[in-house]
Amino acid sequence: MNKKSSVKNLLKRRILVLDGATGTELQKRGMPSGVCPEIWCLENSHVIGRVHSDYRKSGADVVYTCTFGANRIKLGQYGVSDVVEMNRELAFIARHAIGKRVLVAGDIGPMGHFVKPFGDLDFEEAVDIFKEQVRGLAEGGVDLFIIETMMDIQEARAALIAVKEITDMFTMVTMTYEKDGRTLNGTDPVTALITLQSLGADAVGCNCSTGPAEMIQLIATMKPYATVPLVAKPNAGMPELIGDKTVFNMEPEEFAAYGKEFISRGVNILGGCCGTAPDHIRKLKEEITGRKPLAPVRKSVSAVSSSRKTVVFEQNKHLLIIGEGVNPTGKKTLQEELLEGKMTLVRQIARWQEKKSADLLDVNVGVPGIDEQKTMEGVINLLATVSNLPLVIDSSSIKVIEAALRLYPGRALINSITGEKEKLSKLLPLAARYGAMLILLPLDDRGVPETAKGRKEIIKDVFKEARNYKFTKDDIIVDGLVMAVSSNPHASLEALETVEWCSGNFKCRTLLGLTNVSFGMPQRKWLNAAYLAMAAGRGLTMAIANPEVEELMNIKAATDVLGNRDEDAAVYLARFTKTVPKEEKGVLQKAITPAEKAFRNVLEGNREEIESVLSEALREGASAAKLVHEVMIPAITEVGELFDKKEYFLPQLIASAETMKKGLAYLDPYLRDDKSAQEQKGCVVIATVKGDIHDIGKNIVALMLSNHGFDIIDLGKDVPAERIVEEVKRSGSEIVALSALMTTTMVNMKQIIDAVRNEELKCSFMAGGAVVTKSYADSIGAYYAKDGVEAVRVAENILGSVIK
């Protein structure tokens, strides 16, 4: 029996007890702060040996080697280059200390650098770094591996792949979760479990960060989806400062008392992390001895994951939508962007499809002339960080799929395998190696069978072959393979029959590439939506479709209710129940004049309607001047008052100001003959001072002043004093408004004021910006305005007062 089978057999019979903390034990026994623990342990092997043997005597079944940081990156910081030797020696020390009846776990901790896409370390480099450590530990005779305290799922994957590519030994992976129940990078426990167990981890769990009470909840969350044993290594409570020492204050008895609950919630491997000592492990062992472990509740799980989310393909749950947006077929702009290596559009499509309730994202980057592998890797790295949705890797190239699976920080769905012999023989082992799920297209080397009968035979053959790689019906989703009804009127029904047979008789999950059905037809959205409803009635699990099509998503919501796939119709009700506030109803019911509408448009910042409303008002006989002075200026004044009272905030103020601006521009031709309407309050030169590139506040002030009748000369940002002097001379403006965001650039305001005054130009100054205060403005001889609304009042006051 090999080492892996031995550990698995042990786990069938009993709970395995792990050791407790190593770091805090070493500190207690004299390891100074700031040293490299691995080097110190080699130099003081009797101390670490004693820690190991104390844990053995306490009843630990597994002892971790003291190699948490024994990787190339961390050891390199202490000048150690022979990583293999260091790991081998530390494994020897552990073995020597505990003998052969207790298992030695080769301990692998994080490198201190994140792996792409979350960090700068190339994935393959990370795998190589871990492989070096794995080799040393394997040479040192460890019985199993533990990858622990991981906060980056991609780093955990790299370490797991490294172990798997070097040895077949039993490997546990434990992540560390923050108070919010996620790793620092946002991975939740179920997602980590789905990703790691599918990639080949033999046990998955959590360690450090929390005490036992909190960790029990994490274990309970994972258990329903676990196909492997679960591991927990909690701290001895949370750290507290007592006197002059930080202590984990949970006594061994209290710590051990959680043992039974851990087991009842499904843990199979249990130990202690920071603050636990041999006494904690002794008490824990006593507490749980004789208790039977709960085996994993399932052999397989139909679920995919991203780095931050899991989607479980459960029966009787709502019909899932795979967003088809990231596919350049027929999308010229996306094709061009991908060819140029740009990702902006991909990012926007992905986020938008997620917002529109896609459950997964199909990713296809096939464009003629493109480096598909490189582009796919780029898109996966991008989407892993900008979208929470699990990805469907859609490519006809096995090389591209392999590259994607290796890099993807979750459990992916491959689109697709077929019954084609060569493809099948390559894709099945590849998917098995990375634990991916598969979409099966029921076609083979003879082509696409026209009837459902022919497709069923292929489906059965492929599933039979897939069983050789330990795939189950949970792992493969059958595509009904719908063709265009425009070329074959039977196509839709044959695909539906395939879906129904899979759902009912064969009992596997199903999918349709929905939009194929309507190809070549006008108004395709109706055919797509109707077909979705028909397929949902036959038990369809998911559809590849565009979630941005409102009609389709509405029909989907309706079919979920009618098919009893939306409990209490909660999703449907949330989608369609929109409450209109009472006051809005009142407004809608009451007939108002165009002028009143224009007032409301400015008040509510409704830029879209203002021109048509003003046009209507003019048609009904209102003069442009009257609309400006009696409607729009009172409206924007009210907006200013609401802003002052904080009943409006900045976006509302600006939306109103922009509406006003648009309205004034529309009325401008009608005002040309009206002198009273044309009257300007004065001219303002406005600029962000030299050295400062922040200009959004200045732009707001310019907009507000412009709306209130000031003639604005906006010189932009990073403007030197000479340019301002020149413009004041040329325009004869009455006011110079200056903005600065930083203390370092604020001082340039005074230089500008001095420069203008040296030229004996008659004008006043206004100053504002994040760091500018009234006292500073006073000190340089400028008026102060804290925001755009106040700037209008200040400017109006200036022109009614003496020059400052």
């Binding site: 702060s33 994140f114 902006t344 960080t385 905030f649 648009k662 050295g691 590139i693």
Partner: protein, 218 residues
């Protein structure tokens, strides 16, 4: 001196409360109509599709320090009484920085030119708060790393351009962090570009000495 740790993509929860607060929203006072809220949420979503948070951090030991300056092991000198006071008895510091990337800044510029200032202002606020929150995330990351050494970062952090820690120091931090590797530039006025980029300094202390010092300062 340890090498720079780069974070090529920082994932954080969107700090909505801070974004709205930055835009002047006051709970219980500010009134937003449903349509307006949807529009603003749409702008926030658009901003998020443009923001790519990246960061860097580096742990460096302090070679010498006095009440008015700090000499790092790599020879970099920070002259600042305020910073020295904050660093206290720390023997090491963390230099850190983060950026929201170019795309969002470019979009703000385009919006401003196209008289879409409302969206530009929301993009600006989202980018500012996201980049601040990403520094908090970097602090959490280093605290996680330091926990095993029974250490943590000082609760305060200091940025160049504040108090007597003059903006010129931004260039020193920029160089030490190899900030150009995450697409950030610095101009002759020591301003980081893209605009929504920040740097900061925090001290590394043992949990005990940090708590003691903080209670003393109270």
């Amino acid at each position: 001196m340890k090498s720079v740790v780069f974070f090529d993509s920082i994932n954080i929860s969107v700090p909505r409360r801070e974004i709205f607060s930055r835009l002047g929203y006051r709970k219980g006072i500010t009134r937003i109509g449903k349509d307006q809220k949807e529009v603003i949420e749409g702008y926030i979503e658009y901003a998020l599709s443009l923001i790519h948070l990246r960061g860097a951090g580096r742990r460096i030991s302090i070679k010498e320090k006095s009440f008015s300056n700090i000499v790092l092991s790599n020879g970099v000198v920070f002259e600042s009484k305020n910073l020295s006071k904050m660093i206290g008895d720390c023997e090491e510091i963390i230099l850190m920085g983060a950026t929201a990337g170019d795309d969002v800044i470019e979009s703000i510029r385009e919006d401003t030119e196209a008289n879409q200032l409302t969206r530009g202002v929301v993009l600006d606020a989202v980018a500012s708060e996201m980049v601040d929150a990403s520094l908090d995330w970097i602090v959490d990351y280093f605290n996680r790393e330091l926990r095993r050494e029974n250490k943590r970062l000082t609760k305060s952090r200091f940025s160049a351009g504040y108090g007597d820690f003059i903006l010129e120091n931004q260039k020193k931090i920029y160089d030490v962090l190899e900030f150009e590797r995450i697409g950030v530039k610095i101009n002759e006025n020591y301003i980081l570009m893209p605009e929504k980029s920040v740097t900061a300094v925090a001290g590394i202390q043992s949990r005990f000495s940090d708590a003691k010092r903080e209670s003393e300062s109270e």
